[in-house]
């Protein structure tokens, strides 16, 4: 039986991992390669690296991080943040990432999704969606709007429409991040996740708001997510991957143990 995936997310700035609350007040919490190895050995099913600065000059630092991570861990990992061209994707994949995540660039240029899928296979193109709850009225009829630039810019694009469109264009997976819930540790955005997961036939990773194993269980069962992104709740040692998986297993959710 296919297991539900638990995916720690590491925000990287200047070659170091950080975790912000609502994208502000980032603090350094470590070396990404060390943290990747820690999570690999702890039983994480996949990892996400998000380059939160992603300026051209820092691109090289991130590629080096990706290369070193790929030598140490033997589970899939994806890299996102500032990826805006086929060449950016190629560099990250060649450095050893399994998948690339595109977000703002796909909003500006949706064709990038299809071009990436054509060049590298749809399975490695993850559409990252940052979403904010808004009053539901046309054209934002789902009541959820796509925001970009780390939540600073509203786009006028309906999140439900965009998820379906991304699937049509060839995305292999959606990483669905609720800006409202991100960093709060008060639970994922349940209604949004269920809405999007029901609407597409590609896997959906729920992101933003994980604070307890119960939150994760709910988003995977009622929220119908295929995977759950976590950060704060394990980065600071409040929970281990093992504790989360034991909780899920006890509640009937199929999970993977390393051996």
């Amino acid at each position: 039986m296919l297991t539900k995936r638990i995916i720690p997310c590491l925000d990287v700035r200047d070659g170091k991992t950080t975790k912000g609350v609502r994208f502000k007040n980032n603090i350094d919490i470590g070396d990404p390669v060390e943290m990747a190895r820690f999570y690999y050995e702890a039983g994480a099913d996949e990892l996400v690296f998000y380059d939160i600065t992603a300026s051209a000059e820092e691109r090289g630092i991130m590629i080096e991080v990706v290369r070193r991570v790929a030598e140490e861990i033997f589970i899939p990992f994806s890299v996102g943040g500032g990826i805006s061209s086929l060449e950016d994707m190629r560099q990250v994949l060649l450095a050893g990432a399994e998948k690339v995540s595109i977000n703002s660039a796909a909003v500006k240029s949706p064709a990038l999704i299809g071009e990436g899928a054509q060049a590298f296979g749809g399975q490695c193109i993850v559409l990252g969606m940052d979403v904010k709850k808004v009053p539901a009225k046309a054209p934002l009829s789902s009541g959820y709007e796509i925001v970009i630039h780390g939540g600073r810019t509203f786009t006028g694009i309906d999140a439900l429409w965009w998820a379906r469109e991304a699937e049509r264009l060839g995305a292999g997976e959606i990483c669905l991040n609720s800006i409202d819930a991100d960093g709060t540790q008060k639970g994922y955005e349940m209604a949004l996740t269920a809405l999007i997961s029901d609407a597409v036939s590609i896997p959906v990773i729920a992101s933003g708001g994980a604070g307890s194993p119960e939150d994760i269980c709910q988003i995977l069962v009622q929220g119908k997510a295929d995977a759950a992104l976590i950060a704060s709740m394990t980065h600071y040692g409040a929970y281990t991957i093992r504790q989360i998986k034991d909780y899920l297993k006890d509640h009937g959710v199929p999970v993977r143990y390393i051996w």
């Binding site: 296919l2 995936r5 033997f74 296979g121």
Partner: protein, 212 residues
């Protein structure tokens, strides 16, 4: 020396990195003659069957892989490398290598589980393999190990004896094949953590005999 076949179909470097971690000597090559001189060959791949077969024919690698198999030395297929070993793939309606009799077919659309819920395609993530029988590679891992899959098509060998293991996704499909000196996996051992690395290590020590 293990040769990893390069036919422009992705994930070569991840197989190489995994072998390097295990201190197993290997090289990536697109030269059919080097393949034929190897002790063991890994035939990886991510991508579409049509493009892959075109690349294999253009380089003469198709004949090299067949000749290597018939030499009796250990051959390991991974993902797309496993699929193109069969006769035919529904993906791009592609005539494949025909090393093992059988076909590659797509999961149904829509694909439903026993409760009628829609299963997502591709089959992406971690799943177990129910091993049908004994095999030197299988002895290297605990039977309940999980492996990383990402695929929309799956291999169906014509003969049941070539099915080494099955994985459940809506229904049980063949996820590991074996025939004499050939072992072929639908999942990615190089991305499957400790049990995947254990399988690759066992392959590097396997002399190519099947269990029976």
């Amino acid at each position: 020396m293990i040769s990893i076949i390069d036919y422009k179909a992705g994930n070569l470097t991840s197989v190489e990195r995994a072998l390097k971690k295990l201190s197993i000597p290997c090289r990536i090559t697109h030269d059919p003659e080097l393949v034929l001189k190897s002790d063991r060959v890994i035939f990886p791949g991510v991508g579409a069957a049509g493009e892959a077969m075109k690349a294999l024919r253009t380089t003469g690698m198709d004949e090299a892989v067949k000749a290597f198999f018939h030499s009796g030395r250990p051959l390991l297929g991974i993902c797309l490398g496993t699929q193109v070993i069969l006769d035919f793939s529904q993906e791009n309606q592609t005539v494949c290598l025909g090393i093992l009799p059988g076909e590659v077919i797509r999961f149904p659309d829509p694909h439903l589980d026993e409760q009628g819920r829609i299963l997502k395609i591709p089959h992406m993530g971690w799943n177990q393999v129910e091993w049908n029988r004994d095999h030197p590679l299988v002895r290297a891992i605990p039977p309940q190990s999980t492996f990383y899959f990402v695929h929309a098509y799956y291999p169906v060998p014509r003969e049941e004896k070539h099915v080494l293991g099955r994985t459940h996704y809506g229904f049980p499909f063949p996820s590991a094949l074996a025939c004499r000196n050939l072992a072929a996996l639908q999942f990615h051992p190089e991305k499957s953590g400790p049990p995947g690395l254990a399988l690759l290590k066992a392959f590097s020590q396997w002399e190519g005999q099947d269990a029976d």
